[in-house]
Symmetry: C2
């Protein structure tokens, strides 16, 4: 297997493991085991643990950005908000990306508290990129963008806390397309069916 392919599968594994354990709580050993490779070999592919984490974080945010962009393809400006909201809610079916996001946020906070601004810089850059691309897709309305992200972050938190799919706190997302009082159609969009339960599993190691 080529180094580039390995790097790729290491990033996949790192996303899974870091999402579950966080930066400090994940051993490079665990990631290596998931890839099926020896632990020291990771340090051939990545300078150190932090760089590996950053690679996983970056990838995760890129994938979310891509998912949002894809969701609005071919949609009118009026439909964009709901399409993106729907797409974001669909991430709940496999909350890995949502959890990793949260882990990244706190990892940045911790790093900054220790005087390390490197990760922070990189993550903030990516985050603003994501913000701007959503902003554009939503028709460049400042308040609407903020609202979209606000509800997105609420989803992240509820997912992190592991509220079961049928808990009342999820209620608001069943009744409305994520943006309660938003835009055009006054009639309710036909029951935007919730994706299957956001339950936690621990199967399928990725080669």
């Amino acid at each position: 297997m080529s180094a580039e392919e390995r790097r790729e599968s290491v990033i996949r594994a790192a996303i899974t493991e870091f999402a579950r354990g966080g930066y400090k709580g994940t051993s490079t050993e665990a990631i290596a085991r998931r890839v099926g490779v020896s632990q020291p070999y990771l340090f051939r592919l990545f300078k150190n643990k932090q760089e590996l984490f950053l690679a996983a974080a970056t990838r995760c945010m890129e994938e979310i950005q891509r998912a949002m962009a894809e969701a609005v393809r071919g949609k009118s400006a009026d439909e964009a908000h709901m399409a993106m909201a729907e797409a974001y809610k669909n991430l709940l079916s496999d909350p890995e990306k949502l959890l990793l996001q949260m882990q990244v946020y706190v990892a940045v906070a911790s790093a900054e508290a220790e005087g390390d601004h490197e990760v922070g810089e990189a993550v903030r850059r990516k985050w603003v990129e994501l913000w701007d691309s959503a902003h554009l897709a939503l028709g460049a309305d400042e308040g609407e963008t903020a609202e979209f992200f606000a509800y997105g972050m609420l989803i992240n938190v509820l997912a992190s806390l592991g509220f079961s799919a049928d808990h009342r706190v999820w209620g608001c997302f069943n009744l409305m397309p994520m943006a309660p009082e938003r835009s055009g159609s006054p009639e309710r969009p036909g029951t935007p069916e919730r994706p299957e339960a956001p339950g936690r599993d621990s199967s399928n190691p990725d080669a």
Copy 2:
């Protein structure tokens, strides 16, 4: 100093340290040092690290709940949303509680991933309590409550990422009372002045 007083100051110190380092990233040694007490003594006051963390987490959420309740005291139902939003934004002047919240969320996710549901149960219970009390204060409108929490979580994330106070991503919170299109007064509330910079410091150890 009585054990109860000690316990109290340990919780204060734990809040600060866990907010910065997270569960895994904070050593009991660091907490003990901040209190000015030996590390083993912490284990007289708390069964183990997790219980100490839980105590800090619980306390933090209680304080936020109290701050929200206080903010709406004497306010009419119409003013409640803005008052609470303002109060929550004021937490940015000392983001410790916001950061700890985030650390708690991911700690729950990590614990659950390892099969430990104890912390999760406790935190979810507290969270729902907070939700319900805000729900009540806001006049028991489901969507409004969700919106309030959504913007709150966005604030948490932006604070964690350490965006400086004048960054554009904060923009939406300057123009509006947190709830953009909300409620009564059509005229803008007179420039809800932002609290001083959410910069990170590392001073004042609490005895």
